[in-house]
Symmetry: C2
Subunit: 158 residues, 2 copies
């Protein structure tokens, strides 16, 4: 079961992120061609770019660069989680890739709000801590991370 | 001053990563066109993709997606730090973007080995913890992160 935001991204504020809520943010599928193209530009290790060498390695085929997996997930955050025209994010904790992402995998992103508090120094915003889990078609977690996001407050005087 | 690896990536093993050593891994420059292209695919927030809106925002121009900055840095890790044909990385801690990356910035990546120990369960490899710092042409840190990397041991019996 997924919680649902009460507002669209164009009218979404700190007050709309509920502590403990879990949102399903959508899915995407990765292809071998896309895995090789991303990795050739940014992460040209043979496990990501060379099907011949990768076939002899521990995974038996190319697997996605962890940064490719993160970047595809970011797209879902932008489309379905963050407010439109938001603030820059300060950082990420505990990024993990516990299992490989393989060509053809369909991955679903889930976000759980673990902490939400108003900023003391800047009353126009709040800080949320989220647990993101990316889950493959077999129900296995392939990536987790804990981003921090600064979100504008709807009612700064509230 | 940069430490220098004793071996090329094709012959680099756990023993070559010295605790406390700092390696300068190279530099790259980002363009506005590249910032917009990466963000349009993976992080289409207006601060990264829309020069008109970004001009009215806190940074006065588009800034790079944090994932773009990380991905460009990863390329330097692959080319100048990690062994050729290496192992998958388990994760990253404390990824931070303390300052924006702007069009035209030239960024230099520096890696300091903070921890290096042999695996107890798998004696053919070791785990290194590295502090990565990405520094702009003004000497300001724009990104830090602490990756963990599993590196094959040259002499598993040693």
């Amino acid at each position: 079961m997924s919680d649902v935001f009460p507002t669209p991204p164009t009218d979404r504020f700190f007050e709309d992120y509920k502590l403990g809520a879990t949102y399903i943010l959508g899915s995407f599928t990765v292809t071998e061609a896309e895995i090789i193209a991303f990795a050739s530009a940014y992460d040209p290790q043979s496990m990501h770019t060379n099907p011949g060498l990768a076939a002899q390695g521990p995974f038996g085929e190319v697997i996605a660069s962890g940064w490719h997996t993160v970047s595809r997930s970011m797209r879902l955050l932008v489309d379905n989680f963050l407010p439109f025209n938001g603030l820059a994010a300060p950082g990420i904790d505990e990024l993990r890739w516990p299992r490989p992402v393989r060509p053809g995998d369909t991955l679903t992103l889930q976000a759980t709000i673990q902490e939400a508090r108003r900023s003391r120094s800047k009353p126009d915003r709040g800080l949320i801590h989220t647990l993101l889990e990316l889950i493959n078609q077999n129900g296995e977690v392939v990536m987790t991370m804990k981003p921090m996001n600064l979100i504008r407050v709807r009612n700064p005087e509230g």
